[in-house]
């Protein structure tokens, strides 16, 4: 087994650099995302997803339980979130008539964010959205909303022709532009939306796992071992900080793009 990639489940306790247990560096691979279910199909990410959903609901129900004109501290925190979505995303991208989509955008943002956040919360340490099924579900939902609103507001055929023939181009350009626009808007958008979120969370978690495993593996009584272990630990801390940033950023991007798609479906691009 020397030099080979070892599945996490097979890592021997006490497998350190220099120990002659016949084990090399147990590099984490994609198998760390396949987790044994607690029961049935309830795996750790499913459990964290449900717990996160519950936390969002409980937090905002308490924060906005009896809202006052002069807010309490909890209400202020909730309001910051609400105004961030309403003013920072909805009104910025869609405009004033986007106010009716604020609950949707608000739910998407916090649902995605808490799902990502589990990746660095001690004890949980698994980003829910690194399981491809969750971003795909959300992206398909966004795509359906995008298609429905577009066909309703611009007409079932006009929606697609508006998208394929943006005004102000020389006529021959449309030969190339029209199919590209159609494919990019209708087919590529949901795919990129889901993969962007999934891949960021997947890569982040893999990176953190690599440095964490390396911290333990390199911890051995030798100069290289101590230096390597300390460096790996430092990298784990630094990348945890990066992850915190990326998690919020990806939730923001997902929500922002949803708003952009909705804006595009309400009004033809000029």
């Amino acid at each position: 087994m020397q030099g080979a990639v070892v599945p996490m489940a097979e890592i021997e306790p006490g497998c350190h650099l220099g120990n002659d247990f016949g084990c090399g560096f147990p590099a984490p691979d994609a198998s760390i995302f396949d987790i044994e279910p607690y029961f049935g199909q309830f795996t750790k990410p499913v459990f964290l997803l449900l717990l996160g959903s519950l936390l969002i609901i409980v937090f905002f129900l308490i924060a906005f339980r009896r809202p006052q004109l002069i807010p309490s501290k909890l209400q202020s925190v909730g309001e910051m979130g609400y105004l961030f979505i309403r003013d920072g995303i909805s009104r910025e991208v869609i405009g004033k008539d986007g106010d009716r989509f604020v609950p949707l955008l608000f739910s998407i943002f916090f649902f995605v964010w808490i799902g990502n956040l589990w990746g660095i919360i001690p004890g949980a340490q698994f980003p829910v959205n690194s399981r491809f099924a969750f971003p795909v579900g959300l992206a398909i939902m966004v795509w359906i909303i995008y298609m429905y609103l577009g066909m309703r507001h611009q007409g079932p055929i006009k929606f697609f022709t508006n998208m394929m023939f943006p005004p102000g181009m020389p006529k021959p350009i449309y030969v190339i532009l029209a199919p590209i626009e159609l494919i990019s808007n209708v087919l590529v958008r949901p795919v990129t939306l889901s993969i962007r979120l999934f891949a960021n969370m997947f890569a982040g978690h893999l990176l953190l796992t690599v440095f964490t495993v390396a911290t333990f593996y390199l911890a051995s009584p030798s100069v290289i071992g101590i230096l390597g272990s300390a460096t790996s630990f430092l990298m784990t801390v630094i990348f945890t900080g990066f992850e915190a940033l990326i998690q919020a950023l990806q939730a923001y991007i997902f929500t922002l793009l949803t708003a952009v798609y909705i804006a595009g479906s309400l009004h033809a691009e000029h």
């Binding site: 994609a30 004109l69 491809f132 579900g137």
Partner: protein
């Protein structure tokens, strides 16, 4: 129960989409969306609108109060200016009145003084003339008597006697320059 986007026999495939996760993910999202959209967000939306109203109303009320204060200030300043003008006018009137009263009083006093002086002068003149006449008459008689007794004869000729007396008195007056004041 699973869709294989990129089938890869044996090894783990991260792009696999287990139907269970796909469904429970969407169900969880719709529960979150439903709870927030129905129970949490409408309240805060209403509160934020009320707050915006309250702030806008407050600003409007403050503007009204300021305009009112400005109006009151202008009114007050107007009144102050009017009152000042009135005071100045009254003072000027009083000044003029005082001057005229003083002038009148001065004139009356001067007139009265002149009257008194004139009266006094006239009286003095009259008394002086009367005294002179008395003196002249009695001195004439006395002197004539005295002279008659001295010469032992009566100076019967009155005409002569009279001229002598007159001459005497004239000499007397010449000798005493202050005689007019006696």
């Amino acid at each position: 129960m699973t869709w294989m986007l990129a089938a890869e026999e044996g090894g783990s495939n991260v792009l696999r989409i287990p139907m269970f996760e796909f469904v429970i993910g969407l169900v969880a999202f719709f529960i979150v969306f439903g709870a927030l959209a129905k129970f949490a967000l409408p309240k805060i939306k209403q509160t934020l609108e009320e707050r915006a109203d309250a702030i806008e109303g407050g600003i409007k009320r403050a503007e009204e109060a300021q305009a009112e204060a400005q109006r009151t200030l202008e009114q007050y300043q107007e009144q102050m200016a009017a009152a000042r003008a009135e005071v100045a006018e009254i003072r000027q009137q009083a000044e003029a009145e005082r001057a005229s009263v003083m002038e009148e009083a001065r004139k009356a006093a001067e007139a009265q003084a002149a009257q008194i002086a004139a009266n006094a002068t006239a009286q003095i003149e009259a008394e002086k003339a009367k005294a002179l006449a008395d003196l002249r008459r009695s001195m004439g008689g006395v002197a004539t008597d005295l002279a008659g007794r001295i010469v032992g004869e009566s100076l019967a000729d009155d005409a002569r006697a009279s001229s002598v007396v007159d001459r005497f008195i004239a000499e007397l007056e010449q000798a005493s320059p202050n005689g007019g004041q006696n």
